[in-house]
Amino acid sequence: MSELEAEIKRLIVTALKLEDLAPEDIGTEEPLFGDGLGLDSIDGLELGIALRKTYGLKIETANEELRQHFATVAALARFVAANRGVA
């Protein structure tokens, strides 16, 4: 697991205030939404804020593509690595 993936797991736990979930309990390839970790649409919006604030992401991405980038921690890490700006 890369350092960025570990960082994103920590970000998910702190930004979404997931009481009693350790970052390392989130699977890198586990689906974040739906039947995986079980995040919902409001969590998605909160995660969006955290990514914008932490990594200075300033991106516009077509709907389906953005959904793919948010699918797992691994996908998010690739997306952040390719798009990170100056926070």
Partner: protein, 554 residues
């Protein structure tokens, strides 16, 4: 009194006449992932769908689709087949199952076959739709409406904003299954010739990517409260309007919306019963709501709002549970008068949700409380539920419960804060102690035990206490080894003596005997008695003393 007869603005086409000959097949009605969807496609889908429904003799059809275009095609097919459209409050499988008895068919995508039906214009007054809303007792209430009512609502909206919106594309982040989304994302755009996006946008970044040319957006207050960090949209690409409904938008969020997206949100006030009745641009704290043209407002006893509107059946008055103060041309909103709360803009019946929580197999008793913005669930678990909690950990156990409820409730309307308690707090009257519940939601690690019964005596009082495992004083201990510190036991004894025996003096000295440790989830009885300037206390569990002593008061 009669509602004024709306005059159709020249550009507005009744939905009832949408498919009648005259409009070209090539007219763009919607877009999906950049592809135009045309009137010709809609005509073919509706003719095939109506033929399919007619062949099955469908009378009442439940509609639940992911995609707004599919919904429009299904709705028109149902109405052209002469059937009633039944609109579930959400598309969760459990809701659909519960409503199965209300309809003889469920459509989740436009049906079709070779049998088509010629599409005669509809008579809007004879097209029936059934909506649902949760009543204050938690029951589901049916709300029948005609297409004519919905068209009258759109007419008012177009009168007010149509000229400004031109042929803007309509983007959205709210479901068309709700009346607000249905009217603003779907019916109004179709009637006014504005192409609507068939898909909801997943996040702000995706909606912003679609802002080119004239646009408007339909979003929820939950979205507007989560704009932080978004890059400002260049002035030339700002949407012409952003409509939102469900709950008042916080002023800071309205201002942030203007700064980042270039327009103040146009907030719509309404309900499933009434449709849109008022609007505002929030310029300052608590900007009053302006009644929509043709809406007549009055208050009855208790400051509750009564509504007459062209959206309603002729002569109908809706007696709402909204507390308001009337202003010239509108009102200020002062909250609901029943156990309905708004969570992320969604109407939640606390009564209904509590009943559903209590019905989960893991749960022995359930209560809900709202603290600040957060809806919290306070649960007492059965032993099997406790074992499952210990095995899965709190987060995954919570999500398991959320998934169990996702069958009947939308995720955003579910509790975001979960507390597992040994018992629910009761007030001295033996009723749920609302303030104690709210405090438990607000604080992840409470510092006090839960009072489940209180028996006053002469200069004495006896309390039943439940000791939450989440107690602040247990944190940092290994599970199974946590014990309640003696100093906390003394502190609680004094605190309850202040509350219930009117003690104001400070303890100066103590004589205490600790016999048995007090552990998480213990159920205790605390006895307090005042005599000769001393407070005697004892904590007992199952009749056995855990600790006892006396405190000298000065």
């Amino acid at each position: 009194m009669s509602a004024p007869t709306p005059i159709l603005p020249p550009a507005l086409l009744p939905l009832a006449a949408l498919l009648a000959p005259g409009r070209p097949d090539g007219m763009v009605v919607a877009e999906r992932a950049g592809e135009a969807l045309t009137l010709g496609q809609l005509r073919r889908q509706v003719a095939a769908g109506a033929g399919w429904l007619r062949a099955r003799g469908a009378r009442r059809v439940l509609l639940a689709t992911e995609d707004a275009w599919d919904f429009l095609a299904c709705l028109l097919a149902v109405l052209h087949a002469g059937a009633t459209a039944v609109l579930p409050p959400n598309a969760q499988p459990g809701t659909l199952a519960a409503l199965a008895g209300e309809a003889d068919l469920l459509l989740t995508a436009p049906p079709g076959g070779t049998a088509t039906m010629p599409l005669a214009p509809l008579v809007a007054e004879e097209c029936h739709l059934v909506f649902f809303t949760s009543g204050s007792t938690g029951d589901r209430k049916q709300l029948p409406k005609t297409l004519a009512q919905l068209q009258r609502e759109v007419t008012v909206l177009e009168e007010l904003w149509g000229a400004r919106l031109g042929t803007a594309r309509v983007l959205g982040m709210v479901s068309h299954q709700h009346i607000f989304g249905l009217t603003f994302r779907l019916l109004w755009p179709v009637m006014a010739g504005r192409p609507f996006a068939a898909h909801n946008h997943f996040a702000w970044e995706a909606l912003v990517a679609a802002l080119h040319g004239p646009t408007l957006a339909v979003v929820s207050p939950a979205h507007l409260a989560r704009l932080e960090g978004l890059a400002p949209v260049p002035a030339g690409r700002a949407p012409l309007a952003i409509f939102t409904a469900g709950a008042p938008v916080p002023l800071a969020a309205a201002r942030q919306c203007q700064a980042l997206l270039g327009v103040l949100p146009t907030e719509i006030f309404g309900s499933t019963e009434t449709g849109a009745i008022a609007w505002r641009h929030q310029q300052a704290e608590d900007t009053p709501w302006q009644a929509l043209p043709g809406t007549e407002l009055a208050t009855r006893e208790g400051g509750l709002l009564d509504i007459r509107s062209p959206n309603l059946a002729p002569g109908e008055v809706v007696h709402s549970a909204d507390r308001v103060a009337l202003t010239p041309g509108g009102f200020r909103f002062a909250g609901r008068a029943d156990r309905i709360v708004k969570v992320e803009g969604k109407r939640v019946s606390l009564t209904a949700l509590e009943a559903d929580l209590a019905a989960l197999p893991q749960v022995a008793a359930a209560a809900l409380a709202v603290a600040g913005e957060a809806l919290g669930a306070l649960l007492v678990l059965h032993p099997a539920g406790r074992a499952e909690l210990a095995r899965l950990g709190r987060f995954r156990f919570e999500r398991l419960l959320r998934r169990a409820l996702a069958g009947t409730h939308e995720p955003s309307a579910l509790p975001r804060c979960w507390r597992f308690l040994p018992a629910l707090p009761l007030d001295p009257m033996g009723k749920r102690d609302r303030l104690a519940l709210e405090a438990l939601v607000a604080e992840a690690a409470p510092r006090e035990a839960i009072v489940t019964a209180l028996r006053p005596g002469d200069q004495a009082v006896e309390l039943d206490l439940a000791v939450p495992a989440s107690l602040h004083w247990f944190q940092g201990h290994f599970p199974g080894f946590a014990i309640l510190p003696g100093v906390v036991q003394l502190h609680w004894a004094v605190a309850h003596a202040r509350r219930h025996l009117g003690v104001t003096a400070q303890p100066t000295s103590a004589q205490v005997k600790f016999r048995r440790p007090i552990r998480p989830d213990d159920l205790l009885t605390l006895s307090l008695a005042l005599a000769r300037g001393r407070l005697a206390f004892s904590y007992r569990r199952d009749g056995e003393a855990c600790s006892s002593g006396t405190l000298a008061l000065a």
